[in-house]
Symmetry: C3
Subunit: 304 residues, 3 copies
């Protein structure tokens, strides 16, 4: 394993000494935001993790090495290269490593690498899910199967409502994945605190979260946990507005014959248009908010 | 594990000495039948297991402890509290344990706890499955994924036809779960011996069942087994009558706009209305019948 | 395990000494081709494996024993018995072994047995997939779940277009299974080199394939790999012709009310009618071609 996996000195020492560590993904850097906001956000996220007493471990593949704990230079490198960096999910990882390529890791691949490294907590923006129409297209993110099997707690702001949130929650239920609302009994929808769907578990403090997660793994109930952390009120977009925007974008996509893999980027672009720059700012703020909670959760887990 | 899991003295000794043990679930006590029939049935089921030379281990979470082998007092306690006890599937178990709550375990959670305890055979009424319309709603019981991965033989009277039996059997096939008809080549539909669907394996004696199940696990083919044990002829409801009842209930639910999670309880209530008290009596009798077969199967497995 | 599993002397020695071995399935012998072409092809496939420096291990259940490395007599025996031999997928294996029966192993069962025996590469014709309409019928081959969990590289000519290739590829993506095109960026459709669907990884040499596969398993990314090896140009059927043939057969099946499990055999028979004998010849040639690549892949893997 050492042949492929390179932990930074800081991350390696933290793990060896039981210091809390938070994994961070790199798709958001290369594919999720424009440059230079992507690099600024990635560095700000690391700073928030540190301020909350944990060590950040941003994860990516660089030149075929799986790096856990990128340097600032590596983050800048990925941020500049942007979307030309291969997006790496579970199925792509062997190829990118074997060929010595660069890769930006999705939620699924980052979870896998975190678990392989011994990191239990991971902060991201939103998780993947069942796409709208996924009951017909089978377009279902590999993130959900990773949650079904890999022992990592993923702190996110929920699922974007361009996906089918109801089907996503049913899928997670079938696979036995706990979905824990942090301070809320409603599953959040990324840009908004509301979604119209309930969570089945609520926790109000990082300590409470940590206790539930520890019991899960102690019992041998393998697999991940979705920690659903709503975007802070002051940065959230308006629920009615975003719902209308997405509904009209979905309709427009259907009318224009946009299909298959093109639908999601189309909807994301539309949402961005409609909300002006507000969606990027919301995205940045919710990631920072998730990093904060993830660090506090990692701290609490390290005490148990 | 000992911190959370409490085996009764009798169950612990039986497992240590290789005495056959049969796991029993508690959702049927708290959610499946009215009081006091729920408690009477639970105790009668335990008696049947004993009469057939095995030790019963009714499973539930009480005050955050996972109890394997409830006392009569604990069964009475759950039976009186009834539906206010949390229904605990795989995803809910960490929460209920961490918070020190009571929980009635579903087929999925009971299978998991049985396997964790070293119990190989479990008797229940019917297993969960794919709900009608599940190809659109993704409403698919976590019982099916538990069967895909956890090494326990589940003796049931099949699947209630308020679910989609055809889709349930396809799902189990995809995940490689054996469905063994006991003395029948037709998959039973809980209240009836018929369903219109075939099983792919038939076994005629507990010894034959035991041999197939032992080979499965010896080969490293991990996961559960569905033992489909038809309700005894004399207690079974009329197939045409129940089919008509369910079909009309499904239609009525659609007309009244009953949706999502409300459909199943609605259909169950309707079936009860239409069949008068006969459905409760059938339910009790099929559970006793399953307990008998489970005990005989556990005895045969203990000889191999 | 030794009680049920019997490796031929040659296969046992090869595995002990690190000599490359290629697993071969037996459903193609008993169910996939008429006699005597089935036996001739099975022996020709073994010959091709040997010519490419690997040891063939044809797998089947005979009299309840799982045989890895059939003798010529055993291949002839299965070929003569033909479709009356039970088709054995993962769920059927315990039954056939426990009852001392004969069984022809599918892709799923052969993968499982190969992995149990320590064989890493397996050559077949085509893999199973999501059936047309599978999003409604849940008719999804157990081969796909076996690919999701069992560490074997399966060399095939893709998926027959009587199945839904798009849904099959989405399903594999969700479960994190790499689909590697050998010398092509298009997923092949068994009789044809084209399908209209892309693969996400291309490899151009057996050494490149071997390196990707080794990295996958070294990383602990458990599960299979689909090596998609297009039928040689000179034997491939015409894409437009086969597409038209299948589309019209699908329509005809719907009009005649052919349903459920009867649809696939109906479509296969129609394709055979329409293509005259060409489809059988194509089938034979693509299997030989897959055996060749599988042997070369096994050789490369044995060097790493
Ligand atoms: Mn997808
Ligand atoms: Mn459900
Ligand atoms: Mn099928």
């Amino acid at each position: 394993m050492n042949e492929y996996l390179v932990l930074s000195k800081e991350v390696k020492e933290a793990l060896a000494e039981g210091v809390p560590v938070v994994a961070l993904e790199s798709t958001i850097i290369a594919h999720g935001m424009p440059h230079p906001q992507n690099v600024e956000t990635a560095l700000a996220v690391e700073k928030v993790v540190r301020e909350n007493e944990a060590v950040p471990a941003t994860i990516a593949v660089i030149g075929g090495k799986i790096k856990v704990g990128l340097t600032c230079e590596e983050i800048e490198y990925l941020g500049e290269k942007g979307p030309e960096v291969i997006k790496v999910s579970r199925r792509d990882l062997p190829y990118v490593v074997a060929k010595g390529l660069d890769g930006a890791t999705t939620v699924a691949a980052t979870m896998f690498i975190a678990a392989m490294s011994g990191i239990k907590v991971f902060a991201t923006g939103g998780i993947g899910g069942v796409h709208r129409g996924g009951e017909k297209s089978f377009d279902i993110s590999a993130d959900l199967q990773e949650l079904a099997r890999t022992n990592v707690a993923v702190v996110s702001a929920g699922v974007k409502s361009i996906l089918d949130i109801g089907l996503t929650l049913e899928y997670l239920e079938t696979y036995g994945v706990p979905v824990i609302g942090f301070g809320t009994d409603e599953f959040p929808a990324f840009y908004t605190r509301k979604s119209g769907y309930k969570v089945h578990i609520t926790a109000d403090t990082p300590a409470e979260l940590a206790r539930i997660i520890k019991v899960k793994w102690d019992l041998g109930l393998n697999g991940g946990v979705v920690v659903a952390n709503p975007i802070p009120e002051e940065y959230s977009l308006d629920y009615e507005e975003i719902t209308r925007a997405i509904d009209s974008a979905v309709l427009e996509a259907a009318e224009k014959g946009v299909r298959g893999k093109e639908v999601t980027p189309y909807l994301l672009a539309k949402v961005k248009d409609i909300t002006g720059g507000k969606s990027l700012e919301a995205n940045i703020q919710l990631v920072l908010n998730n990093a904060r909670l993830a660090a506090r959760l990692a701290v609490e887990l390290s005490k148990l």
